[in-house]
Subunit: 339 residues, 2 copies
DNA sequence: CTGAAAGCGCTTACAG
DNA sequence: CTGAAAGCGCTTACAG
């Protein structure tokens, strides 16, 4: 069962390989009507299917882009990836999605794999742990776009949320509802990931602007496994917070687990707002107030920026960063406090 | 910034391309030590990176497999895909995951795309709507494995859950807890997808075996958008069910939404068991009793079977179907009824 | 309007 | 122990 090639089609249709190739690429300009028909028939008869690998080798373009997400467990990653896929499909590009699992080693392996596979460009949710490689790609003028995070000292244009504003939206919603003792719990910031740092910064600014004290004990950044313990110690303070901002979806889930295990009531015992929408927000009991990212727009923008870079074969990364507006989704996990 | 090729390395190291290729493929058998070192140095100096596209063309193997899931929104799809990826990585294979979105047209497009890209084999969660194409791949002895579903008349080995048993587990758990009026709500069965049909069959058998009547009004199969209406009419019966089995995760979510909107209490007003585990099962209020699929094992098996087919280049699909055991995860969405 | 020839970057018998 | 040559399946100037 040898695969049929363009040569077989040519033979069958009694034309040359070149002509078949022209036909396949829809360059009909000067092609005779019956030539066309003969080729079409031959393709059908033989069940010919083109071999993209051969084409890619010759054209030096695979019409494929790579996406490396830092951690596929974030709802954000999945949604943005889907938006990227939609946008790419429209332009005839395919996608290979890889999960770095928050591990710079894996990220590196995937970057190398994708380049070896000759993808035309890469969209990275960077772990931040491969600066040399990011820089190398820049030096080689290889098309790259960052999503979610920026990396200090690597001038690649990045598609990000207005993270400060996201935290501010949460804090100010609490304040409007009469809350004053407001905490924030994020996942670990050891690698100084920009969204986490910025969200904490936004929290501080919003507290300050509203005349509320910024207390260390109310701000924790921990590995996922430690968040429940962290909640415990935060809520064991003499003056525990009455409300808490979850830095992302996974942090939110840990908080919800803690709340359930300790039979606390939301929002009576603890009000909660999560940054990042979660699948169950609307039908959880109580439904969860969140600050949503415009994942669809962000994914589309990432694809557009990358495709632009690819088509321009452009060298210097002179494209700006893009910041997107968070949106408060008011639900029932925040009550009313009369201060 | 021309990419550096094997020819450049050869020149730089003052050996032939063949020798460089031998080196890259670790066929050191007869290679002189200094030759090796010179090549190694040249690769470093030039920053050479191999081009898999060229290699694939020559070797007629891309070391890549395709996965087409019927609908990525099912938790099951995501988990199985990850398990497949892990298993493939161990064998040096890469993955391209596509989402058919329950649409046979898309599925077809992806099958063709993947084949054009010369993937070495495909794992399909079949929509069931492309029998001719499935059959064609079989005829061509192209390596394919099905997951989740089987397709009537297409003898491809398939990795599936013991669906009947899954439904039975749910029904019998209800019965043990004293429930008698038990319904089942699944997503649409217009295309006769095997898991849904089998789960309904298992429900009927379990009801029968336990001397309970099988009533049409207690069994509904609807499009997602209609499930809430379906619940409404089921619960408006003179003798409404006190317990309901959700045919899969998405059906479960619709039921939970309905329950919330109508301020029903689980399990007092309605007990619920979902087939398929969901991310929030353990920390939902109440936590949700589910029948979980062993997604990790299933994904691993799918990968193993496919990789076996690939390595054997084997023609006839003489491999059997594989059925996996569902597992009841007892939580709090089922109460105790004293009949 | 169509065909012959070169070449994309590799690998692989085979010769020496 | 290493190199010259052919070939994987395409595309693309170029010639006619």
């Amino acid at each position: 069962m040898k695969p049929v090639t363009i040569a077989d089609v040519a033979l069958h249709a009694k034309v040359s390989k070149s002509t078949v190739s022209q036909f396949l690429n829809k360059r009909y300009d000067y092609m005779g009507e019956k030539t066309k028909q003969r080729i079409e028939q031959a393709i059908k008869d033989l069940g010919y299917q083109p071999n993209y690998v051969a084409r890619s080798l010759k054209q030096k373009s695979t019409k494929t882009i790579g996406v490396i997400v830092a951690n596929i467990l974030h709802n954000f990653s999945t949604e943005v990836s889907r938006a990227i896929e939609d946008a790419c499909n429209e332009h005839g590009f395919h996608l290979i999605v890889c999960n770095a699992d928050d591990n710079p080693e894996k990220e590196k392996k995937y970057m190398e794999m994708l380049r070896a596979k000759q993808v035309d460009g890469i969209i990275i949710f960077p772990t931040g742990g491969n600066k040399e490689l990011y820089q190398k790609m820049l030096d080689e003028k290889y098309p790259v776009v960052f999503v979610d995070r920026e990396v200090q000292g690597i001038p690649v244009s990045s598609i990000m949320l207005e993270n400060k504003k996201a935290a501010r939206l949460a804090v100010e919603h609490f304040i409007e509802r009469g809350y004053k003792r407001i905490g924030i719990m994020t996942t670990s910031i050891i690698r100084n990931l920009s969204p986490r740092v910025e969200r904490i910064e936004g929290y501080k600014e919003a507290m300050n602007d509203n005349g509320l004290p910024v207390q260390k004990e109310y701000m924790k950044s921990l590995d996922l496994e430690q968040i429940q313990d962290g909640m415990k110690s935060m809520l064991s303070l003499k003056e525990p917070p009455e409300a808490v901002v979850a830095g992302n979806d996974l942090a939110l889930i840990e908080i919800l687990k803690y709340v359930k295990q300790n039979r606390l009531k939301i929002p009576e015992d603890l009000a909660v707002i999560g940054i990042d929408d979660v699948s169950f927000a609307s039908f959880y009991t109580p439904s969860i107030t969140t600050v949503a990212q415009p994942t669809f727009e962000m994914g589309k923008k990432a694809a557009d920026v990358l495709l632009t870079k690819i088509s321009k074969k452009q060298g210097k990364d002179n494209l700006p960063d893009y910041r997107f507006e968070p949106q408060l989704m008011v639900r029932d996990s925040v009550g009313y406090r009369n201060g």
